[in-house]
Assembly symmetry: C2
Homo-oligomer: 257 residues x 2
């Protein structure tokens, strides 16, 4: 009998739904994409898609249902506070076809947190609501917890609170080999080295090379990011690119500029 062994090369994926009119209006600059993307990398999980949707239940439901089916994990940020525009719990419950309940543990946490701050009121009680069957994600910062139900992780919108929730989840999610990267950067016009980049990538099957141009100090330049799950192949590919750039007469700085 052949036992089913886990695939060490399996790629684990995640989607992210950012719920927030304030992002779509341009008022607030999003910080959660980069924060969650970086955290997922360390967990060996690749962020495969992000959607930013408005505070409209049907839009949240559609995004949650498409993306929780498409990826191993789905994260949401935003809309779990005490005010009328915080509708994420209702939307996630609707997406999963479960009821919204008052979560006893969340209720107890909030009761303790607000004991010396005027006690619970209608708005604060909203933050004890959860889709039936959800577990809590601790939030040491402000009392109100995040939620996990199935493969859906419901997080805060305020980046510092999200950071605390990610901290609580560190090491809890199964992932694969992390994608590691090295960077070479310089005042190199990418249009001068496009052929080299393509050839070096082609010669190293398990590596991808990304080219990220910039304008700085009145000069064009680029950072070339080499990514792989294999440390050895990553080093070989990086060396080959560095040598190739040198042959073309360009200095590059390991780590990027």
């Amino acid at each position: 009998m052949a036992a089913t062994l886990p695939d060490p090369d399996r790629i684990w994926t995640a989607g992210l739904v950012i719920i927030g009119d304030e992002i779509l209006s341009g008022r607030t600059h999003d910080k959660n994409i980069a924060q969650i993307a970086s955290w997922l990398q360390v967990q060996g999980i690749r962020l495969s898609e992000v959607r930013v949707v408005p505070d409209v239940e049907a839009r949240i439901v559609a995004a949650v249902n498409e993306m929780r089916a498409a990826y191993d994990y789905l994260f949401t940020t935003g809309g779990i506070g005490p005010t009328h525009d915080d509708i994420t719990v209702d939307a996630v419950a609707a997406a999963l076809g479960v009821a919204v309940i008052v979560h006893p543990q969340a209720h107890a946490i909030l009761e303790a947190y607000y004991a010396d701050k005027g006690g619970l009121n209608e708005g604060r009680l909203r933050m004890a609501r959860a889709p039936e069957g959800a577990e809590l994600i601790p939030n040491r910062r402000s009392g109100a917890p995040g939620l996990k139900i199935g493969n859906v992780y419901v997080m805060a919108g305020v980046p510092s609170i999200t950071a605390g929730m990610l901290d609580a989840l560190t090491g809890q999610l199964e992932g694969g080999k992390p994608l590691i990267s090295r960077t070479l950067g310089g005042f190199i016009p990418e249009s001068e080295v496009a052929a080299l980049l393509r050839e070096v990538e082609k010669a190293h099957a398990n590596c991808q090379i990304g080219s990220y141009p910039f304008f700085r100090e009145g000069k064009v330049g680029a950072n070339f990011v080499i990514r792989s799950t294999d440390e050895g192949e990553l080093a070989q590919c990086t060396d080959a690119l560095s040598a190739g750039l040198s042959e073309l007469g360009y200095d590059c700085t390991p780590g990027g500029i």
Copy 2:
């Protein structure tokens, strides 16, 4: 015979597809969402959805086709440079079912731009490629133009270049009444005033109130953003909220804190 008049209350919408492994890896912090969202507001167009997708043609094609059908305008950023990972032109052409051609005007622009920089090469020629039928969006910064085809606007990924392309498009896109906003902010726990926010919003049908909490100087606070297309109703709603906060004993600062 009744003539068909344009609807002055029509809401014009846009979607945005951000094409970039560098955003999904957490390496680069996106700046284009806020930049494009703010610009669209001034044009009287609402950004209704953003998707961040990887540099994978099938994923770009799917996002472009879903979103160009769902919204009046679709913007893309990223993937129009000279390197092998710049595949946006091919993906947009595939989405629209048209061929990729060398655009004569783009070719001429690039030839002139690179005349004293070593001339055109294979990588630089990639930036003259366009979906058949596309018009150019000027880019005074680096030569390589953006593209407009149907309701799809293909923009650069580097934010300063995107800014130049937006500038070239200012006043060119039909929009509706801009959504205007006022902000009241203070060290006010939103959970203390949730009921007030809901009641004031309910009493002003053409206004929405968003509540955006923060932690600062060790204290909780929030900015309340009131949005409307009508200046008079916006002022009334803002005054009502300000008076309500005052009744509850909270000072608030117009413009937010």
